[in-house]
């Protein structure tokens, strides 16, 4: 018991110190803080992106869905591979634009491409609103993991408070470098935990995963094909969700922004090739969820399946290791979410909307201050409104994926206009919110976010074609004049 406590607290503290150390001897300006001075090589980019992408959700949500819903959870294995495939084609172009114009954030891109501060302002607000549930998801997951892993020695709220305050400190001091360094600890611990549990648990209870699946086919075969244990997550739902999450993936403001931290466009391209390899451990997490379905059926909260099964199977010190891995797995994405949420608010909402004359130093100082504010808000949310994990994440996706037409058409189609993107974005978001609020998600079997994205894309195209083309030359000269 004491061992578990020691491992969890020790890991959290060590990670935070490493994060702070990462920023030593670097003069912190906005360029270094948000995009690491555009100096990251392929290893650090891979770690950083993996750090952002494999979150507490990987531990709890994927196994929880396998446990409670079955086959619909398979989308989590596949969507990453789609996103990386897409990134191979679009991110190098995006990186070049970022380098050329010194962009830091996603709204910067919209301001630059469409010459519209208002559009950047809107994108920043939607981005921040989508980040908050994602951040909350990390915190709720962290609290849950640590509380169970420490056998209630560290209550959920205390765990959230300690680790998040420490996260806040290393974001404040080191920016994105802190995230990248802590990612190393996180990746190693998470992989070890997933390998041990994912291979071990089916082995211990069934002598191997083949036998586990055979038992599952005998007892609950419906869990292995769509729509699994659900009534509404059929083939069409999974197809639309795959497209939505595959396209929406790099539209998350923090993932989008991380692209700019690479040293070259080529590094981004090569990274896209190796990223899918990191997707494979998710298979092991499904195995844990399915084993739990057979061994400990009837849990009220499916998200607890992973932890309950580990608790039942392994000694308490290993539970401590899982708890520690879970905590760092939440801290890393939380750090980058806070980093980008505060930069968006300082640079693209405050500066662009209210004080265009603000110097870069002012923006930097404000960003750092906002780290503290956002941390506090997210803490309050996480403690006051815990919700089922995957639902929150899909909701955020519905929002950010609406950026897709504006980003991709903006990169590859000169004819797309500001008005087109505005109309598409606003109507897309309105459709999503309308469908979800009125209880029509899924709509005709399709994910509501996907319906919004489809309407958004068509509208962006049609309106762009019927409005006056943006004068790109004029735009570029104004941009230069601006700086």
């Amino acid at each position: 018991m004491n061992a578990a406590l020691f491992i969890i607290l020790g890991t959290i503290l060590f990670s935070a110190l490493l994060g702070i150390y990462a920023g030593r001897r670097v003069k912190m300006n906005l360029e270094n803080w948000t995009v690491g001075g555009r100096q990251f090589g392929i290893v650090i980019i891979w770690l950083l992106m993996a750090g952002e992408i494999y979150t507490t959700f990987t531990f709890l949500g994927a196994s929880g869905w396998a446990y409670s819903k079955g086959a619909p959870t398979f989308y989590i294995l596949a969507y990453g591979a789609l996103a990386y495939t897409l990134s191979f084609f679009i991110l190098p172009a995006l990186w070049k634009v970022g380098k050329k114009h010194g962009l830091h954030t996603q709204p910067d891109y919209f301001v630059n491409r469409y010459n519209s501060r208002a559009l950047g302002f809107l994108v920043a607000l939607i981005g921040v609103f989508s980040i908050i549930p994602y951040l909350q998801l990390q915190l709720t997951g962290l609290g849950l993991i640590v509380e169970v892993a420490s056998n209630q020695a560290i209550p959920s709220r205390l765990a959230i408070a300690i680790s998040f305050v420490l996260t806040c400190v290393f974001v404040y001091t080191s920016g994105i470098r802190g995230t990248a360094w802590v990612s190393i600890v996180k990746d190693i611990m998470m992989i070890v935990a997933v390998l041990v549990v994912g291979i071990g648990v089916p082995m211990i209870y069934f002598g191997g995963f083949g036998n586990m699946f055979r038992t599952l086919i005998e007892q609950k075969p419906q869990y292995l094909v769509l729509p699994g244990g659900t009534s509404h997550m059929g083939v069409i739902w999974v197809m639309s969700t795959l497209l939505l999450t595959g396209l929406g993936f790099y539209m998350w403001p923090h993932v989008f922004g991380s692209v700019f931290s690479a040293k070259s466009a080529n590094i981004i391209k090569r990274n896209a090739i190796i990223m899918p390899i990191y997707q494979i451990p998710i298979l092991l997490i499904f195995m844990v969820g399915f084993t739990a379905l057979l061994v400990i059926p009837g849990l009220a909260n499916g998200d607890m399946a992973f932890l309950e099964l580990v608790n039942k199977t392994y000694p308490s010190w290993f539970m401590g290791f899982v708890g520690a891995a879970g905590a760092v797995t939440a801290m890393v994405p939380a750090s980058i979410l806070v980093l980008f949420a505060s930069t968006l608010l300082a640079k693209n909402v405050y500066k662009a909307g209210f004080n265009p004359k603000a110097s870069e130093e002012t923006v930097m100082r404000l960003s750092r201050f906002l780290v503290l504010v956002i941390t506090t808000i997210a803490l309050v949310f996480a403690i006051a409104f815990p919700e089922e994990l995957v639902n929150l994440l899909i909701f955020g996706y519905d929002g950010v994926c609406q950026f897709f037409p504006g980003v991709v058409l903006g990169l590859f189609w000169r004819r797309v206009t500001k008005t087109g993107v505005f109309c598409g974005l606003i109507v897309g978001i309105a459709v999503v919110v309308g469908l979800i609020v009125s209880g029509r998600d899924p709509f005709l079997g399709m994910n509501a976010g996907f319906v919004g994205l489809a309407i958004n894309s068509v509208l962006t195209l049609v309106v762009s074609l019927s409005t006056k083309p943006t004068d790109v030359k004029k735009l570029e000269s104004e941009e230069r004049h601006d700086r």
Binding site: G208, P221, I274
Partner: protein
């Protein structure tokens, strides 16, 4: 649509795009055809095996796309390595 055409005209990019369509075809559009338990392959029910197989093959496909794109498209100025 001048831009799109311009991009499509480079042979390497066209080949890469065709390769890049494969994961989308196999993992999204083929889904109605593979939603089944049998045959069980390597101990995995077919739907899971199918998705896993294409996740594993995606890096191979992208590496091939990268190679071919390099081979057919002349390197741009200022591009490193």
């Amino acid at each position: 649509m001048a831009d799109l055409k311009e991009i499509g005209m480079k042979k390497g990019t066209r080949i890469a795009l065709i390769l890049g369509a494969i994961p989308f075809i196999t993992m999204v559009f083929a889904l109605p055809l593979v939603n089944r338990i049998e045959p069980i392959i390597l101990g995995l029910p077919f739907l899971l095996f199918w998705l896993l197989a294409w996740v594993v093959l995606t890096p191979v496909i992208l590496a091939l796309a990268y190679k071919l794109e390099k081979k057919y498209n002349p390197p741009e100025e200022g591009e490193d390595k």
